[in-house]
Each structure stands twice: as structure tokens, then as C-alpha cells.
Amino acid sequence: MNYRFVVDPSLCTGCRTCELACAFSHSKNLKPGKSRIYPLSHAKDKYVPVTCLQCNDAACVKSCFFDALKRNEETGAIELNLGRCVKCRACVAACPFGCALIDDIHDEIVKCDLCKGDPACAHFCPTKALRYTRLPI
């Protein structure tokens, strides 16, 4: 866990490139998946890219009865094991930040997994509002 996903809303222009990058990098059966990141406007021309905060004491992990959500100690991301998920939507209802999502097209629950340690959105963000940086140790 030497890396952190850094979101700097002051640099975000709301271009939504991150959404496209996320949806296409998570495509399945030639269909783009649901984006795990949402640049939402909270005031005129002011955007905040909202994505999973990978909380330490995460409500989604607590709410899952089947241990489908587990932290990947290497990347620090809470990953969803779809094989164990029964789509009860407890995590979607429990997340206080609304970052566990329902993908209606593929009929599954999705959440940000930091692309297994190489987030596509950070690669594509033109203003570098999203970064994946090494922590100073």
C-alpha cells in the first residue's frame, strides 16, 4: 500500500474522460461497463470526481455477509469477488458515499478496484486531477 489514488477537485474540468476510460476498461462481452467514477457538479462549473474512498473501516465490507468484498493488501483497494456476490445490494445501500454501484447492463454490483493497481482514469485525466502517486516514505 505504498500508493495512493489522489483526487484534486480544483483541477477537474468535468470533461468526463475518466468516466469513459473507466467504462471501457471495465467492458465485458464487447459492452462497456458502468463507470466507477462520477465527476459530479456541486456548483456552477465546479466538479468533483466522486469515486470509492477505499475506507479503512468500510461500511461495504461490514455489510457483506458473504465476504465478497475484501481489501487487496497490495493496492489498498477493496475488491469485489463476483463469484461470492449474490447481488443482495447491502453494500449499495450501506455505503455512506454512494460508491458501490449497480451495473444494470451486466446485472452485477461494481465498485472501484483501482484497476488492480493501475487506474485507467488517472492515465487519461488531461488535467491530472486524478493521480496515482507513490507515498513519500
Partner: protein, 258 residues
């Protein structure tokens, strides 16, 4: 680690693993209906049958459900021998007789080259294959709301005494895990009906979107130490709230920096 042989190929497997897990990891496709990672295997659907043997068994072979058979050193597993395929076809023919209207069974049978069954068909047969996936997931959840009731050919999955289950919380885990989509449920007018019971769906206080049932939210808050306030708004509104809060923090940080 243990070395087993799957179709003649040496494969490393963990000691407490079942044969099916090792087979699946090798990318070999074996049909299953009752198997799910979230619940313990119980070998109910019988479709994961494989043939096993060992060097010191002097040519003796045995057919076992791979989901329940733990790996042993030097175990030789064959997944697609003519006998195993014949076994699987017979099981599917029995399913076709019991569940003639199930599209999942029909599709699986077609994949194995079966279109008709020599057994007597139950014309009004439902889609339930008695795999107990629903009762096992309910037990894993800690609710124990549904189980098998009655005996013999009258056996059905239902609440205690074949009445609407009082312990059900309307989470739909059983409906989603059911391999043949037998369990019926409906959401309408802010109410959810399943197993003959009605549940109130929570309404988002900002946008009015329906989320999970009140019983499920209360169950989560009681057993998993989550405040009920987490369940008051829907995920879309919570996300917007997060954006607003973070936006405020950015403005405050900028003012402090000045």
C-alpha cells in the same frame, strides 16, 4: 500443496481444496447448478460428477461429485470419459422429467445433446430442482427463514409449516442465487413481495427512489453495527452529497491557503 492429475495433466492443488475448485482453475468446463462460492458445497445437483482413481486401486474406478471430494495426493481425475458424460446425460434426463418447463434445464440438456427424456414427465412441474442453494444462502446470512418442508415427492422449499416465513427480511439473496430462477418476487408501489410475505421498501428522502427493505436495513444495522442513517438516502443522492461536501472542503482549503 498436493499433486493431482486432471485428465492426465499434473496439477498443484491446496490441501483443503475440493476437486471441483482445482478443475475449474484449470479452465475445464464442468456444468453445475447448485455450486456457488458464497455457500458450502453440498453435492445436490450431481452434475459435477467425475471419475477418480489411484495407482494402487488396481484399476478400480469411482464416480464422485467433485464439489464434495477433497483433493488427495496422486488422485487421478477424468472429467469427460464416456461413462461420466452418460451419467451427466442421465441426470439431465431426470431433470427434464421433473422440471420440463425450466429454460435453464432445457438449455443445459441441449448442450449435452438431449432433447427428450425417457422418464415420465411431471406436466405441471415447477422450476425447483431441490438444490438447497436458497436455504444454504439464508443460513449463511443468519436468517434461517426458509427450509424444506413436507417429505417425499411433496417436499417443497418454504417457510416453517409451509407458511410465509416470519424470519425473512426480503433481501432477495435466495432469488438471486437460485440457478433455475424458481423463486418469484415482485417490487411494486414501494412494497416487495416474496415467499408470500410483503415488505416495505425504504424510500430515499431526497429523490424518492426505492432501495432495500426496511427489515433488511434493520437487520444490517443490528448485526453489522451500521447506523440506520446510512440507509435513508439512495446511492445517487449519497454520491451527490459526497461531491457537495468535497466541494466545500476544496473551497475551505483554498481560503486557508490564502
Amino acid at each position: 500443496m498436493v499433486t493431482i492429475y486432471i485428465n492426465g495433466k499434473a496439477v498443484q492443488a491446496k490441501e483443503d481444496e475440493m476437486v471441483l475448485t482445482a478443475i475449474r482453475r484449470e479452465g475445464i468446463n464442468i456444468p453445475t447448478l447448485c455450486n456457488h462460492d458464497a455457500i458450502e458445497p453440498c453435492g445436490a445437483c450431481r452434475l459435477c460428477m467425475v471419475e477418480i482413481t489411484k495407482k494402487d486401486w488396481n484399476g478400480w474406478k469411482k464416480h464422485v461429485t467433485s464439489c464434495l471430494y477433497p483433493v488427495e495426493p496422486e488422485l487421478m481425475v477424468s472429467t469427460h470419459t464416456p461413462q461420466v458424460l452418460e451419467l451427466r446425460r442421465t441426470i439431465l434426463e431426470l431433470y427434464l422429467a421433473r422440471n420440463p418447463n425450466s429454460s435453464v434445464i432445457q438449455k443445459l440438456a441441449e448442450e449435452h445433446g438431449i432433447t427428450s427424456t425417457p422418464y415420465e414427465i411431471i406436466p405441471d412441474g415447477d422450476n425447483c430442482i431441490m438444490c438447497y442453494a436458497c436455504t444454504r444462502i439464508c443460513d449463511a446470512l443468519g436468517c434461517h427463514a426458509i427450509s424444506a418442508v413436507e417429505r417425499g415427492h411433496e417436499k417443497v422449499i418454504a417457510g416453517p409449516l409451509n407458511q410465509p416465513p416470519i424470519d425473512c427480511i426480503g433481501c432477495l439473496s435466495c432469488a438471486h442465487i437460485c440457478p433455475t430462477n424458481f423463486i418469484e418476487w415482485k417490487d411494486s408501489d414501494g412494497r416487495r413481495s416474496i415467499w408470500g410475505r410483503e415488505f416495505e421498501l425504504l424510500t430515499c428522502k431526497t429523490c424518492g427512489k426505492k432501495t432495500i427493505t426496511r427489515d433488511f436495513a434493520e437487520y444490517l444495522s443490528k448485526n453489522r453495527d451500521l447506523p440506520m442513517s446510512y440507509f435513508e438516502t439512495c446511492d445517487d443522492c449519497k454520491r451527490l452529497d459526497t461531491a457537495k461536501t468535497m466541494g466545500r472542503l476544496v473551497v475551505m482549503a483554498a481560503e486557508v491557503a490564502k
